[in-house]
Amino acid sequence: MSDRTEILFAGFGGQGIVLAATILGRAVAIHEGRHAVQIQSYGPEARGGACSASVVVSDRPVDYPYVRDPGVVVLMSRAAAEKYGGMAGPGAVVLYDEDLVPRPDRAGAHPIPATRIAAGLGARMAANVVMLGFLAGRTDAVDPDALKRAVLEAVPAKHRSLNEKAFLAGMTHGRPLEVHA
């Protein structure tokens, strides 16, 4: 099962959790040409409440679509952290919004003020894109260029520049920006 990476996004309804997972899945399945299956927790709740969405990526076709041992867990709300945080095994990378989620008592947890960064750019709604950038910067689950491309395809033209900034802010957060000659 080493050819399989499971990525779990969790937050509250309205944060764009499902959209984040869909963008990541599209990046892998369409732009990288690898395999990806995206599913989500699905119920009567619309906004508020803990929700989750996941992507399973692999170099070969993915059969079982559900997450069993996520390699990456993204947490964007306290309730979601309480409900889904426990799914992160010892080897998982945990990315969390440090203003919304208490610091997990474990190794491999990376904080980012994703919502605050997005608000600073003028749109709290872009916190999910900041988080995708952070994921691209801190894991090797997905090719950053493919992910950025999928982000820009998913948003209306007038919001592209904002989302590109959000993605780059997340990707370089806590790290000096590499300058290519």
Binding site: G25, Q40, D63, Y64, Y66
Partner: protein, 394 residues
Amino acid sequence: MSEPAVLPSPPAGAGVRTGSWFLNGDEAVAEGALAAGCRFFGGYPITPATEIAEVMARRLPGLGGVYIQMEDEIASLAAVLGASWGARKSMTATSGPGFSLMMENYGLGLMTETPCVIVDVMRAGPSTGLPTATSQGDVMQARWGTHGDVGVIALVPSSPQECFDLTVEAFNLSEEYRMPVVVLADEVIGHMRERVVIPPASEIRIVERRVPGAPPSPGFLPFEPGEDLVPPMACAGEGYRVHVTGLTHDERGYPVLDAPTQRRLVGRLLEKVRRNAPRILRCEEVSTEDAEVLVVAYGSVARSAREAVRVLRGKGVKAGLLRPITVWPFPTTRVRALARRVRAIVVPEVNFGQVAYEVDRCARGRARVSLMPLLGGSIHAPGEIADRVEEVLR
């Protein structure tokens, strides 16, 4: 008197969104329908099939098609049958509660030989049950849900790609055999996103409606079958005089309420599917050549079963998978042949036993059939299926 308004025919292939997409199963069903030439959708939105109606509502007007949200599912299928008699390829999409309401008009469609596609994205029942959770509880309903003796075709997709491919196929079969064809998806497949490759229109096989060979004449027999037992279809507005009734009818389409006509008509409708079954049937087999245990699984659960078989093979356990793609007609001959060779057959399904009984019927006591029932809400994990396979081998 002015001429009646005639909708312009959209160019062939206009509905085909050629390319690679990241779609969920519901969206892929809708794209498959549009690629097949579906230009009428009558439906009533219902979880977890609503996304199909959403795509059809968005896309049909631009293709010269018609989308109508009806007052309920009885009316939805009635409208679809009517549109089909108006020479439009037509579809509706629903889930269990709506599928129950459609049973009356499903029978009418079969009796009147009306081509159309009925999509049922299964959720857990009975009744309104668990609206947002998956199930495979409608398999027998698709077979026996309408009263009387019927021959039916039902296709079971296991991925968004198959949702596209099998919806095209469902339209083709519906035209080829002049009958409603059911696509039985489930919530997991309907809401799962995966890559869907839509080929260029020229590479998609499309079966068009067979029209009568002769021009309209007083002696025209609208229900006179061809050699394959299928009558060509004369639709409204084409100049032929056609009477359409759910009553037992003769080749003219008029009610003839006696035993010989009943046997001739219903016998032909049954035989139409039975005799053509070898051409309709489709199933996938994985590692069945030397299998000691066979897993029979379909739809979303087949994905778990495929992983289970792969893991078991890695451990040296001779497991194989048979995945019915047409659950109706059922791949009886194939299951019967495999039952002679394997020690046991494991059937995981998200219901309390439906296909398992069909498998047991085919096995005729030659192989032990082990049902893994699940009452909806989730699907079997691969490990559970693998454990059962090892258990039946002990």
